[in-house]
Symmetry: C5
Subunit: 384 residues, 5 copies
């Protein structure tokens, strides 16, 4: 009852700004940020090269040589490396600050010669946790920065480049950006599938055993949904902006594909909203279950108390010690021949009439009604 909760790992909604007092655009390494691992894939329609680089200077030759260069930086702990990459690709200081300074909202910012996209991937262990993915789309290059948590949502894209499957190798940097965003967005579907299962489990729990405390689980689920909603809502807006803005960096074909990605985003949001509504309904269901249960407890208590109170009273009457010898009026019943059977009969009659009273009130009858049978017997509508 009084045990301390050990649920400290739950998602904490936090926004951390740049440390106060520094000029904007200052890059400061976060404590505990993962060190950077830089993986490059450069490709054209016919060939590709894949390597891990340690020095930012290795990137420049690739950039000139290949149609598309994709630099994937996992971990944002090495601020100097990131600053150097930023200089090579000509990235804006404020954008770089947002890369290092995690917990940004999803957004698209257009800096003339490159486009800066912030999105998040979510994973579900005990709770939903999110990881910021920053994407720079420029002429002939794509830069991605991941927080460096375990798991890599871009592996399938990498595989498609290697195997030259689909149109990816023949497309430009904009198509690669689409493929990456598609990977980010589609990663939400299995997660929602799991949350849906949890919601169903909680519903079953509420219906089957209202004594268990599913509201705590519901509360945690709502937290998770809130977290997802906060992550995906701005992403939807950002994708919409990306499709509508007349940026020269994104071609017509990629725009059609991005529309599909936007569509997935809308479906995810849709589902999150529906799950939120279902959660709210479940609270109602739970509270009504609890009050039904309370009603049931109260009925048992009332029936027992109300029946035995008068019986005990009658027994108490005949347990009084008035002396028959002092007066003929003093409890003559005690000496009657039928005294004891009469008392027992009286008690029985009182109990029986109370039981009938409660039966009339519907407190003893079972609560199952005609409606319970209805939905099942409802035939399939003929009008369809």
């Amino acid at each position: 009852m009084a045990r301390k909760p050990q649920r400290r790992q739950r998602h904490r909604f936090r926004v951390r700004a740049a440390p106060v007092g520094h000029p904007p655009g200052t890059l400061l390494a976060r404590p505990h940020a993962a060190p950077c691992v830089v993986r490059v894939i450069a490709y054209g329609p016919d060939a590709f090269v894949e390597q891990t680089v340690r020095d930012a200077a290795e990137l420049e030759p690739l950039l000139r040589q290949w149609a598309v260069t994709w630099v994937d930086v996992e971990g944002v702990g090495d601020v100097d490396l990131i600053a150097r990459i930023g200089r090579i690709f000509g990235l804006h200081a404020l954008a770089l600050e947002d890369v290092v300074n995690l917990h940004q909202r999803a957004k698209v910012e257009d800096y003339q010669d490159h486009c800066f996209i912030v999105s998040h991937i979510a994973s579900l262990a005990e709770f939903v946790s999110t990881e910021q993915v920053s994407i720079f789309l420029g002429r002939g290059f794509v830069l991605t920065f991941q927080e460096g948590k375990p798991g890599d949502c871009f592996e399938s894209v990498r595989q498609r480049i290697r195997e030259a499957r689909g149109r990816l190798r023949r497309g430009g940097a904009d198509l690669l950006t689409y493929a990456l965003l598609d990977g980010v967005v589609d990663g939400y579907f299995p997660l929602l599938e799991k949350l849906g299962d949890r919601l169903d489990a909680i519903e079953d729990e509420i219906i089957a055993r209202p004594a268990a405390r599913p509201v705590h689980h519901l509360h945690e689920l709502k937290r998770d949904l809130l977290c997802l909603r906060r992550t995906i809502w701005p992403l939807r807006d950002a994708l919409n902006g990306l499709i509508r803005d007349e940026s020269a960096l994104i071609g017509d074909e990629a725009r059609v594909y991005l529309r599909d990605c936007y569509d997935h985003c809308v479906r995810i949001l849709d589902l999150v909203e529906i799950y939120r509504e279902l959660s709210a309904d479940l609270i109602d269901l739970y509270l009504s279950s609890v009050s039904n249960r309370m009603n049931e407890i109260m009925k048992v208590l009332t029936i027992f108390s109300t029946i035995f109170n008068p019986l005990t009273f009658i027994a108490g009457i005949y347990g009084m010690n008035f002396r028959p010898e002092s007066s003929p009026l003093n409890m003559p019943e005690l000496s009657w021949y039928w005294g004891y059977p009469f008392a027992l009969t009286l008690m029985f009659l009182v109990a029986a009439s109370l039981l009938i009273f409660f039966w009339r009130k519907g407190w003893i009858r079972t609560a199952r009604g005609p409606l319970d049978a209805q939905p099942g017997s409802d035939p399939r509508p003929a009008g369809r």
Copy 2:
């Protein structure tokens, strides 16, 4: 009480994306998808031909020969066939993916030379279930893809073509599209009629017998309404887009008819929203019924306990065994001539005064008030 719920067939809100890691536009057969049955009706103002085809190649001659060719594919399990049909009619790969990959939102997408419409038909057995209907509208052809669940909402349209009733045979592919969408939308009306009946049944249940558990039924009804809302809301937007967009595929006459169809959609949504509000009100009504009932139980318990507690106490007093022989102060009442009648009178007075107290508090009086008679006696307003 502890029986397991067997309600596993309830609508589960799920969004299933394409399997992760495949390039966009990949067609993958869903497990358990129904095999395809392809039915074609081609018609002009004066004649029509109806047949079931097995090979996609049979479609091309029809397409050239007739004013309008309607290909209705029931079931989306045969991915190769669908891909071949897609090539014949020049459909976009992403649109085809959405046909196979069910659980899309209703939408209209304009691909220059054809228009892709996703909508859903709903049916109500124990719960509401939906079936995706994808429609392609092109120059001289309409393609429809149904999931293949039993039931065919397009039979009446087919009948109208056969009998040359209405303007359908003289119109183009756009008018056929309208007729199909109209069939889809109008199929919701009988379903809503049934849900309305269920809502009324639940309301009667709550008013007549608050002990039954109608909240579970209400919860299921709300799920159904949520499902309907989720289905129709995007359909309304899609229809609105279809009317407003300057697509050359839709003529002025069809546009007027589509406005009517849009109108029906709005009325359905209206009703769904009203049912949702009524459901929310019923929860309030239910909770107030329950608390009234609890109040009633508490009153019975309190009245009985409160009356018999002092009586039993008095009986207990005179059941004490203090010895009169030790002291004249020890319970002289027991030896009084009027002792026993006095004790009984005392008990009667206590009980009576408590009953009067409860009567004053309004706990014993019946709860019916003057308001109950009011609405009926309210005369019809003269000002109308």
Copy 3:
């Protein structure tokens, strides 16, 4: 308790579409639709003629002869007559279908040479019920179709035409349309007045006697408000559209008057929304009254049980039959000289200390506080 509700006449939210499977624009008589009574008033600035026609052909000469011809059709049961009228005035088939097919939403549809307006009049007997009024405005004519329920909201307009009061006789068909819509809209005011009275009655009920069950009445009132809202909301939009659209059928003067009518509509909606908020507040008020009442009941129960439990226990102790003759330790109190008075005093002390405990907890004191006196003593603000 278990009586069946006889409230079957409550407003049922229903939308009935055209019977499935018929081509759009098909006129089908509804079962139970009232037969048509056609009343015509044709007028110019100087004269007017009023007659009841049986044959639609009688209308054409009037149409040519008079500045404005108003055909009022009460009842929509005679589908052939309506179809004939439609042909004479050149009405669109879909619009005519909406006339016959009741339960439309209020709307304005512009068919180039005529304008189709759907609105509703509401009446309040036990519950709010609505009647569809369809208005066609064309060059020189106005057509109105009423459902044919008893009551005629256009009588005052007719009287104004007969008496040549106001500007109506000098104006065109657009001014007549305004007058009719104004009659429709203003008919809501007395109805809202009545609903406001009911709301006040329920509030008084809740405050004075929370034991009565005003929530049922509140629930019915909310249903009525929902019905009104659903009726007026689209009417407001339709009127707004009528004012803003550049239809040539409506002149500048009528537009100014329609703005006034729109204004009334907004005020009605305003009031409906306020009543809905007040209803929601009353639920809160009711629930808090109920829980106060429950608190009060619980207090009485607790006070009585808690006081008499230890007293009865003490009496029980001295009612035990331990034999003093077996041991001097066995209940020597029973033989004490002051034994009985001592026991009674002990009981009195226990009861008194418990009463003091409850007094301290504030369970016995009256609940009236200083705030109750406050609002009345609040002087009128000097700052006004």
Copy 4:
């Protein structure tokens, strides 16, 4: 408990339309409308004249002679006088109808050569009540119509004209209109101040003594806030319209000042919304207080009942009259040497173990926790 509420003077939300059946623009005196008192101030930069007129004809010379003529009509009972004033200033009939026909929404209507503004002043006695103020702004004149309730919110403006303070005397009719609207809007601030005090008083009441019934007061406060909101919301929109519309009647300077007035309006609305949210929160707070209280009552009841039930049972056992002489098994305890002390000890042990059980459950411990001390000990954030 059953006393009748005497709170009939509460604000009743009513909308009264013109009596049904009259042509629009008909002026009908309301019953109980106050008679008209017409006060005129006419002024130019250098002089002013102030007088009370009885005949509308006296106004015309003033209108020609002075830069700005302000006619203030207090009371709308004299319909003929108002109609005559309307003719002199050329006011639209529908606008005049709205002047006489109170309970309009705040609005701005532009009739080419004059502008019609409806606003309300609110006052707070026991409840909020409002008074309609209609303002006509034309070339060189301002007309104001007040309902004629006691109190005059324009006195300070009059004083400023007399003393030639500020820019008012040098400005035109538009600046005077601004000054009047500013007076109307600023009159809400002290009223909100008072409502804020009431809200604080209710909050203190809830926290200190949840047994009192503050929910009734809260309910009344919410009514008042609803009334204020309904009054100010359309006023804000009207002011916004006044600023944005390109009316020639309002100069650039007055427009800047009106922006300030609009700003005040927004702040008032802001506050009303916040008070509404706080009220809703207080309901939650109240309900949780009540359920805490109920919990406390239940605990006392449960502890006492649960402890004394077994004790009374034990006493009852040893009060049974089984005869030891019939059998050695019949209650030998009664004859034991340590019988009575043993029974008392048994009772004590039962009571003690139950107390320990309740202590473990936390029902006897005080409810104050570590959190209670927290906010006070929280140091001022250093990061500011």
Copy 5:
């Protein structure tokens, strides 16, 4: 229980208008307003000067001499000084009135040659309190007015100017304005961090010990969030206006930086909204905890009462004094050989069967269910 709350220092939502009856633009010192301290920093790319001035006349030479002059006025008590500063910089009278007249909403007003920005900084001691910061941006100067509460959020900006860090010294007045607004906005982050901690503490409290009264703390937190929301919401709108308006006072570079500042604002609002939702969820969680607890109490009460009621009744039966000598029917059990053991066995059987009944109902079993173990055992999703 009945202690008076001493929480008078909580945030009181107040809007104070200018004293009624004064012409607009009148500067009136507020009572208790802090006296003015005027600190000036004037700088160019290469040098800067910092001084405290007492006479407004000292400002003019600085203004001509330096690229940017920043006048920071702490305290708004000296109305004459502020009016003089206003004349020197040519500020609008209404804007100056808003500086002195605190409790304005955040806003941006464009007065051609200068721009007036109102914003607030918030601090969190026991409760959130806010301080108005008014900023004037003109050609070559920035004026800031703080309320004069302790703490200075601009110190870091001053330090950056002194140390010529970042781009500030090379930029114009618009960049300084950005830096100041950035300081204002970023000051909210640590505050939100603290509120988040409090929310977590309350959540832990609710989960661990529902008997404590965390709802009061929650209520205070909600007040604080309401206050923050009210402060930041208009600031966001104002910043958005500043970015979008084509004011010549703000250059392109500053506009990009302001976009970043706007972004921070959106994130703060985001978080405030999430905290508000979490608070609402916690109320649900609390209420469900309370009703669980009530359930538990009721169960204990019911179990004990229900078991001991029949037992005490049986003991009462055998405590009756019917005389065996009057009749063989009068309680022969009392003389049976196995009488007493039989009675005890009967009691035991009754108690046991009731315990089994309660066990069956699930009232004695522990409430922990299979769901409690579920989330922890859920493996990390493989699909990420």
